[in-house]
């Protein structure tokens, strides 16, 4: 092998790096890197501000980041909102996130013992039927953990596929603007770039129909899993937090893509979940806003993943919601919510 000098080695490394970076830049130009709002951004915003409303939810809480901007614009920044979206979140993982990342900030005190975020008066819990089904909290290491959480887990169990998720996400954060790094684990970049270069689409009407049927079946089958004890305990924990911190608490059932909901799903899974939540929150006197199928959003307002609302759809939703079922956000919080006893 020809590697006789440091100079030669340095040239090899330099050209290898240049090749990788050049291709990465070209790929990022063809398929721009999407930076999604994560827990880290939500916690950062909460750390830097004193909002009136805190939104906790899954990736759908990103929609409420747009709603927050609309709210601030409408109220001349009198009403502020911070959304903390936990990708792939379920009720139990929201509770973990609340305890470990959000509560310390909410309870943070200044030098004279006064709360640093005394303006916080509202808590919006964003959920849907899937959040109440059992399942592992794979998203905690990757989205919520800090380095100390990782070290604690490492000491207890050694390096496992579970806590390795933390390292994976840190690695991706290191190369935040790299298309290659952000694609790791999804392997979509190559095909997407090729399709865009060749101006071809892989989304056929048959594929759309197939995915729609998968979603419909999934929601209908949800009746078997909703109301998991641990997940519902997670919701109770969130409500307890709202009560002990005297926050006006609202549980919002997030809208689903209309085409994915059959009449059967509405009559079974979705109604049953609504009833479960209504029953659970009753003692807390929290508000329930069910938007599952009552918004003006159409199938076109959702992304290709059939789950998340598109950028334009978010704006449409925000405007509609602040005029309608969430108009209370534009008003000052109600005093009676903070005085409700269990």
């Amino acid at each position: 092998m020809k590697s006789s000098s440091y100079r030669s080695l340095a040239v090899v490394v330099l050209f290898a790096c240049m090749t990788v970076v050049s291709i990465d830049l070209v790929l990022a130009h063809i398929v721009p890197v999407l930076h999604r709002r994560e827990v880290q951004e939500g916690v950062r915003d909460l750390e830097r501000s004193d909002p009136e409303t805190l939104v906790i939810g899954s990736s759908h809480a990103r929609t409420f980041h747009v709603l927050g901007a609309e709210l601030a614009a409408r109220t001349n920044a009198q009403r502020t909102l911070v959304a903390v979206p936990l990708e792939f979140g379920k009720l139990r993982s929201y509770a973990w996130m609340l305890d470990h990342r959000i509560a310390p900030l909410v309870d943070d005190e200044g030098p004279k013992g006064q709360l640093k975020r005394a303006n916080l008066k509202r808590l919006l819990i964003l959920t849907e039927w899937w959040d109440s089904c059992p399942g592992p909290d794979w998203n905690l290491p990757s989205r919520v953990w800090t380095f100390s959480n990782f070290l604690g887990s490492l000491a207890n169990t050694g390096l496992t596929s579970y806590n390795r998720n933390y390292l994976q996400s840190r690695w991706k954060r290191l190369f935040w603007d790299s298309a290659l790094a952000q694609d790791r684990g999804t392997k979509e970049l190559f095909n997407t770039a090729r399709d865009r270069l060749l101006h071809r689409t892989t989304v056929t009407p048959e594929a759309i129909q197939h995915t729609t049927e998968v979603w419909q079946h999934s929601i209908e089958a949800g009746t078997e899993c909703i109301g998991d004890t641990e997940q519902m305990a997670g919701l109770r924990h969130l409500l307890d937090f709202g009560r002990t911190h005297q926050l006006e608490t609202t549980v919002i059932l997030f809208p689903r893509k209309p085409g994915t909901m059959t009449e059967k799903a509405k009559a079974t899974t979705l109604t049953a979940f609504r009833n479960l939540v209504a029953e659970l929150i009753a003692p807390y006197h929290a508000r329930l806003v069910d938007l599952t199928w009552s918004t003006p959003l159409t199938d076109q307002d959702f992304m290709a993943d059939f789950d998340h609302v598109s950028i334009e759809g978010n704006v449409k939703f925000a405007r509609w919601a602040l005029d309608g079922p969430l108009s209370f956000l534009t008003q000052a919080p109600q005093a009676e919510f903070s005085q409700v006893s269990p």
Binding site: M1, K2, V12, L14, A16, C17, G158, R164
Partner: protein
């Protein structure tokens, strides 16, 4: 911790930079490497670190005791006693953690067949990472010291590092004292060749393991072994051949990565694979495949048996069968592995006898010599060797003998349609392993040499393109690691 996973991105560069910033002294370097090795192992499971250290400490005490015995006879009773103590501890640990369930289950099945209701308890133990590898390495060293083939080290630190050196502890290569320990006894110097060789070996190993082996396994092997009754004959053949490529990519790739990592620290580990798919006989194959294990088995089982003074002396065929049965059992505590080992033992016996007969023919008539030197003979010998190896992998891959039997039956009757997932990427990954071998053929080797002689910028661009390809195509997690479970 695993070189294929994301942690190595944080761990390795940090360790390499800190290592070369240390003073160039044996003590500093070895102490640092030992700490890194212990951290590496503890990241898997800190509890089993004690087993590793206990065995190493015991063996060090034993080799020092042997060194203190100055009588001329290496086989003096006191030396023999401590050797037995060392071997008993190592084998007992291996038997307890690796084979307890296998023997208990086998005995329970036997008792059940005899109509007895007594059942032995079956413990569900976690197999300590790398136990099969580090146990053999230490045993080999103690036996070498016993026979005075090697001067025992005086340094506890060096021996501990020899027993725990992190690049090889997970899955080898199984080193000897004369290979690894002698390097640990002097300070390592940083050279550009050290870093370059290490990085190239690591990159090549990563490509073999994380890309080629993973892709072949997912597309050609796993679906057929999971439901062989749904596939036709071609798919079965593709699965068996694909598994051969997958095992090679998986293990040779990881061995290359381990060799590469050791190189980054200025240490050379022995070669573990030497282009085994170029072999033209089973004997040659086992000299090229998992070299360090087979060397160990032949040096510490086959040779002592076949050259002993007792009943075994000269019984080469039986010794071969026993050696390969041990090899099968080493690979896993299951009857499928024992069958695989015996299959190869039988193959070796057949080849040895064929070779002897053929040599007798050659002595009688020179035309047989010419025939053996012909391309036709070479091609036929290669085809038979490969067919034998690929067939032997059926029990090796199957989860039970019943599954292996079903696979062979379905291969014969071809119950399903011949669905083989053929994509550019699959073919490219298989082609990558084939090309890797082809470039070691005498006629093609010059192309490989020509690449390494190219100007540095061109080599840099080639490595860059390979890194991009791997970044795009390698899954985020390693998936399987076949040899780690052994």
């Amino acid at each position: 911790m695993n070189f294929i996973e994301v942690e190595s991105f944080f761990f390795l560069p940090t360790a390499v930079i800190l290592y070369w910033l240390l003073p160039r002294s044996r003590l500093a370097q070895n102490l640092f490497l030992l700490l890194v090795s212990l951290l590496f192992y503890a990241c898997w499971d800190v509890r089993y670190l004690s087993l590793l250290l206990l065995g190493a400490c015991l063996d060090f005490a034993i080799i020092r005791f042997m060194a203190a015995q100055t009588d001329d006879q290496p086989r003096s009773p006191s030396r023999r006693k401590v050797l037995v103590l060392s071997l008993a501890f190592s084998l007992e640990a291996l038997a307890y953690f690796k084979y307890e369930g296998f023997f208990a289950n086998s005995l329970n099945a036997l008792l059940s067949n005899l109509g007895l209701t007594t059942q032995l308890p079956v413990l569900k133990l976690v197999l300590p990472l790398g136990i099969s590898f580090y146990t053999l390495q230490r045993m080999g060293y103690v036996i070498d010291v016993y026979w005075r083939r090697i001067v025992p080290t005086q340094s506890f630190l060096d021996f501990l590092l020899f027993a725990c050196f992190f690049p090889q502890i997970t899955a080898g290569p199984i080193s000897r004292g004369g290979e690894l320990l002698v390097q640990l006894e002097k300070p390592r110097l940083l050279t550009p060749g050290t870093l370059a060789d290490g990085a190239v070996a690591f990159l090549l190993g990563f490509a073999l393991k994380a890309w080629a082996a993973e892709l072949i396994g997912t597309n050609w092997v796993d679906p057929v072994f999971a439901a062989s009754h749904q596939f036709g004959r071609l798919a079965h053949v593709a699965a068996a051949c694909g598994y051969g490529l997958q095992v090679f990519g998986d293990f040779a790739g990881y061995s290359l990565m381990a060799i590469g990592v050791a190189h980054l620290f200025g240490i050379t580990l022995p070669m573990n694979f030497n282009f085994p798919f170029l072999s033209k006989s089973l004997t040659e194959f086992w000299r090229r495949w998992h070299i360090t294990l087979n060397r160990w088995l032949f040096d510490y089982i086959f040779t002592p048996l076949s050259t002993s003074r007792g009943w075994w002396r000269g019984r080469l065929d039986l010794a071969l069968l026993l050696t390969f049965a041990a090899s099968g059992l080493w690979h896993g505590a299951m009857w499928t592995f024992v069958v695989w080992g015996l299959f190869h033992g039988l193959g070796m016996v057949l080849h040895r006898n064929w070779d002897e007969r053929y040599r007798a023919l050659c002595r009688r008539d020179r035309k047989y010599v010419r025939l053996r030197q012909s391309n036709i003979y070479a091609l036929a010998a290669w085809a038979v060797t490969m067919a034998f190896f690929m067939t032997s992998l059926i029990p090796f891959r199957a989860s039970s003998l019943a599954v292996a039997g079903a696979f062979v039956r379905d291969l014969a009757i071809s119950p399903g349609p011949d669905r083989v997932h053929v994509s550019f990427e699959c073919l490219a990954s298989a082609g990558f392993i084939v090309l890797y071998h082809c470039f070691d053929l005498p006629k093609l080797r010059r192309f490989r040499d020509r690449f390494f002689a190219m100007p540095a910028p061109i080599r840099g661009i080639a490595y860059g393109l390979l890194i991009v390809w791997l970044a795009l195509k390698v899954p985020a997690s390693a998936g399987t690691f076949i040899y780690q479970q052994f």
